[in-house]
């Protein structure tokens, strides 16, 4: 057997791949589900925090900044392990799926809050003054004048950050979530062959490569076109 054949046999073993393809596909579904829930909850929670912060209640804002910095500083894996293995001590036993979802949601919330906040504060003071001078309330100005401009500015950085955090769904494998990497790892142990990992890598590329390209496209399209 030549080296090349041995390489193919190890990483592209057709028999192993065919056998575990359904598992990997199932893993893809779980990953998509987990990612979608993280994106929706994280981006909504981040926006809610940014809006709350814009009201300018000092104690509330100090708390928001603390929470945001906390989840930006902690490695996502640490948060996942803490929730999954730590919370049962207080009679809460979230599943691996929920632990991973909650952790990544908190991290995306924290990062996206900072991005939304940067967008809101980058809108010129004159926009606020013009709107308020015509009688619009604080909330009406925020919703109708400031947010539409701020969100447009935030789309590129938000997209990139969302992709980076969503990839973290692979961390769920540590707490037995049957997502792509988890399915591939157990397939490797069962088949004594790493080909399922090749399939996992391909599956991740299929899911995330279009998102990365989309993010790049958005960045060039949205940048400074105001």
């Amino acid at each position: 057997m030549s080296n090349w054949d041995r390489f193919l046999e190890t990483f592209f073993n057709a028999k192993v791949m065919a056998k575990y393809l359904p598992d990997i596909l199932h893993g893809m579904l779980v990953t998509i589900e987990l990612a979608a829930l993280v994106i929706v909850a994280g981006l909504v929670a981040g926006l809610a925090l940014a809006l709350l912060r814009s009201l300018g209640f000092r104690p509330v804002n100090l708390l928001i900044v603390f929470v945001v910095d906390l989840f930006r500083a902690l490695p996502p894996l640490v948060i996942i392990v803490f929730i999954y293995f730590g919370l049962p001590a207080v009679q809460l036993s979230p599943s691996g799926f929920v632990s991973t979802w909650l952790s990544l949601t908190l991290v995306l919330m924290a990062f996206s809050e900072e991005i939304y906040w940067a967008g809101i504060t980058s809108i010129a003071k004159g926009q606020w003054e013009a709107a308020r001078s015509t009688g619009l309330s604080y909330g009406q100005t925020l919703i109708n004048v400031v947010l539409p401009q701020a969100l447009r500015l935030t789309i590129p950085p938000l997209t990139n950050r969302t992709i980076a955090i969503t990839k973290g769904t692979a961390l769920g494998t540590v707490v037995a979530v049957s997502e792509i990497l988890g399915m591939a790892s157990s397939a490797v142990s069962n088949s004594y062959n790493p080909s399922p990992l090749t399939m996992a890598a391909i599956a991740y590329l299929i899911l995330f490569f279009p998102m990365v390209v989309f993010g790049r496209w958005l960045e060039t399209r949205m940048a400074w076109k105001r």
Partner: protein, 244 residues
């Protein structure tokens, strides 16, 4: 009854005493010009008149409404006080019509149809009927400032405040904005204008106020202030801007 009656206005920014007891009364149909060196407090005074700045003390009554009374609905009162800014401050994500109709819909409670009709009428008044669908980025500076004026007059204010409306414009665009202001004046709108457009002040203003260091130094007819100022500081200032 005066349209604007501001009494004893003081404004502090931290240790800075920007307004030192200013009185300003504006009659109906009157156009008052406020001039003075930069940092003299004229913009701050203007912004106190619609409470974009909160005066530290004093009273501001506009169209019979006490603006500093905590029971006053400031958002309601501000519809009666149009303001035009040096840097236009149009909403860049909306068309000219969108800029003009936002407050009509959200504050005055008009339906979209009513607001659009009023918005088109306001744009026609400033000579921009054909630019309703343009965004600010597609308009010249003079056109943007006229849209900003339309945004304010669409709400049918009782008084218009102009904060250096032509200072950010190229010289050839100033005329179109002054033309709109002249039309507005002829329609009887009460106006307070902070500006250095002396030619306009001379033939449109009823009264000129000269401010320096947070106080009114001298006021009078344009002829009196420009030709025969009695105060040394007024003379020095008028001399300076006429030389340049």
């Amino acid at each position: 009854m005066p349209i604007v009656e501001a009494r004893g206005i003081h404004k502090h920014f931290g240790a800075l005493h920007v307004l030192k007891g200013v009185d300003l009364v504006l009659a109906e149909r009157e156009l008052v010009f406020v001039i003075g060196p930069s940092g003299s407090g004229k913009s701050t005074l203007l912004r106190c008149l619609n409470r974009l700045e909160e005066p530290s003390s004093g009273s501001v009554v506009v169209d019979g409404v006490d603006l500093l009374d905590p029971r006053t609905d400031i958002n309601h009162a501000r519809q009666r006080i149009g303001m035009v800014f040096q840097s236009f401050n149009l909403y860049p994500h909306m068309t000219a019509l969108g800029n003009v109709t936002l407050a009509l819909r959200k504050v005055a409670g008009k339906s979209r149809g009513e607001a659009d009709a009023l918005g088109h009428a306001a744009l026609a008044r400033v000579g921009l009927a054909d630019r309703a669908g343009h965004t600010p980025g597609q308009l010249s500076g003079g056109q943007q400032q006229r849209v900003a004026i339309a945004r304010a007059i669409a709400l049918e204010p009782r008084v218009m405040l102009f904060d250096e409306p032509t200072s950010a414009l190229d010289p050839e665009l100033v005329g179109s904005v002054l033309g709109v202001m002249r039309d507005l004046r002829e329609s009887g709108m009460a106006m307070i204008v902070v500006s250095h457009e002396m030619g306009f002040a001379r033939n449109a203003a009823d009264r000129v106020i000269f401010m320096d260091e947070g106080a009114i130094v001298e006021e009078g007819t344009p002829a009196a202030i420009f030709e025969a100022p009695t105060q040394y500081r007024t003379r020095a200032f008028i001399g300076q801007i006429q030389r340049h």
